[in-house]
């Protein structure tokens, strides 16, 4: 039980304590790619901890059941000696088994829902790409389909093939260099497979909306991916050009209020960092810090599990040893 409970304690600690400090680290959007890596590592380490904990819990209980006597459950008895009288023994064991089965079931349900939601996302996203390609017109020399619509909108959608969509209104608002900067931004999303990262983080956030790590993580990942795409576009076309494109599209005839969900992609933060790029010193500090935290959250559960396996960590069943 010790490994499982230590891992669960670890994941609890990360989900409760980590979100706010992690969000502070990525707020300014310096080194956005590493920021994304850090969030994904944090989310991944929690999910992996759950999975590993469930496996250990199950394995240990199955072993106990097979060879009664010198077992972890027996160790639990000594810990809870005052409570566990002879009569309560079987009740306790059944209780623990029920708990393990429930935990494993919860995890299976989570995995199934995640899988289903990803399949659904893939279907409707590809469907949308097909519809957009049908409705849109091709323009020579433009790697996008043009939609006749009054809103100034540019976006990309994964599909077969991936599609960049831009409205006639948006094209009218943009000069040639700005248009190419916008398209480079959208292309960067597709080339970087950002839609996959967004699909997974959003699905987790939708399945477990009460967990700040997942909801805040999904929002931050979305925001940082925009910045990654901005950086790629800026490398090819200059950050001024990307900024001016952003300003041009944000002008008159705004997107109808409420039409877009409040996803908090932080246009202003993007504009500010394009207007005043960070200093090399700041960048290195951010890179170092983000890398260190990423390594920490990846090794966290491994170290926790190893300490618990050697009976060094003070959590759960190891206290009995």
């Amino acid at each position: 039980m010790s490994v499982a409970s230590c891992l669960l304690l670890y994941s609890l600690a990360v989900t409760v304590l980590a979100p706010r400090p992690l969000a502070r680290l990525t707020r300014a959007g310096i080194a956005p790619r590493l920021g994304v890596a850090m969030w994904l590592a944090a989310i991944g380490s929690v999910v992996a901890s759950w999975a590993t904990a469930a496996i250990f819990l199950f394995a240990e209980l199955v072993r106990d059941w097979a060879q009664p006597g010198d077992t972890v459950v027996a160790a639990c008895f000594t810990t809870l000696g005052a409570v566990a009288t002879g009569g309560a023994g079987l009740v306790l064991q059944i209780g623990l088994l029920t708990l393990a089965v429930l935990a494993a079931l919860a995890l299976v349900v989570l995995a199934v829902r995640l899988g289903r939601s990803l399949v659904r996302a893939r279907t409707s996203t590809h469907e949308h790409a097909r519809m957009a390609r049908l409705a849109g017109r091709r323009v020579a020399g433009l790697d996008a389909v043009v939609l006749d619509a009054p809103e100034r909108v540019a976006y990309c959608v994964a599909g077969r093939p991936h599609t960049v969509v831009i409205t006639r209104a948006a094209m009218d608002a943009l000069d040639q260099p700005h248009l190419h900067a916008v398209l480079a931004h959208e292309r960067a999303h597709l080339d970087g497979h950002h839609h996959l990262l967004l699909a997974v983080t959003r699905a987790l956030a939708a399945i477990l909306p009460a967990m700040t790590l997942f909801t805040l993580g999904a929002a931050e990942v979305a925001r940082l991916l925009e910045m990654c795409a901005d950086d790629t576009a800026a490398r090819a076309h200059g950050s001024r050009t990307v900024l001016r494109a952003l300003l041009a599209l944000s002008g008159a005839a705004p997107i109808p209020a409420g039409a877009l969900g409040a996803t908090g992609v932080g246009v202003l933060a993007r504009a500010e960092r394009l207007a005043a790029p960070s200093q090399p010193g700041q960048r290195w500090r951010a890179r170092l810090l983000l890398s260190a935290v990423t390594v920490l959250v990846i090794t966290g559960p491994v170290v926790t599990a190893m300490l618990a396996a050697r009976g060094l960590a003070l959590c759960g069943g190891s206290m009995a040893g």
Partner: protein, 119 residues
Amino acid sequence: MRGFGELEAVVIEQVWNREDKTTVREVFEELRLQRTIAYTTVMSTMDNLYRKGALDRERDGKAFRYWPTLTREQYSARVMRDALDAGGRSDLVLTHFLEQMSDEERAALRRLASTEEAG
């Protein structure tokens, strides 16, 4: 009306490009110039599109005359509405160049724009 198969999309495109109601024969003659295709294939595709509600038709002698239930513009508007709604859904993954802004954000962005113009 949702998306279409590859051939259905080609046919819809043809119907959209015509001003008037059209027949299977007309669409077939047009498509034959672009690809190898059988008359019956075009006929069954247009029949499918009618069943899906994408095309409407009326009898004209022995044949049917077809027209789209949605114009290209109306279909575009649907795609756009879909795209603009995507922010509130987790099952449609789009990345917009520009997301919705609050009024404060818009004002701050305008200030930034004016310093940009000055600079």
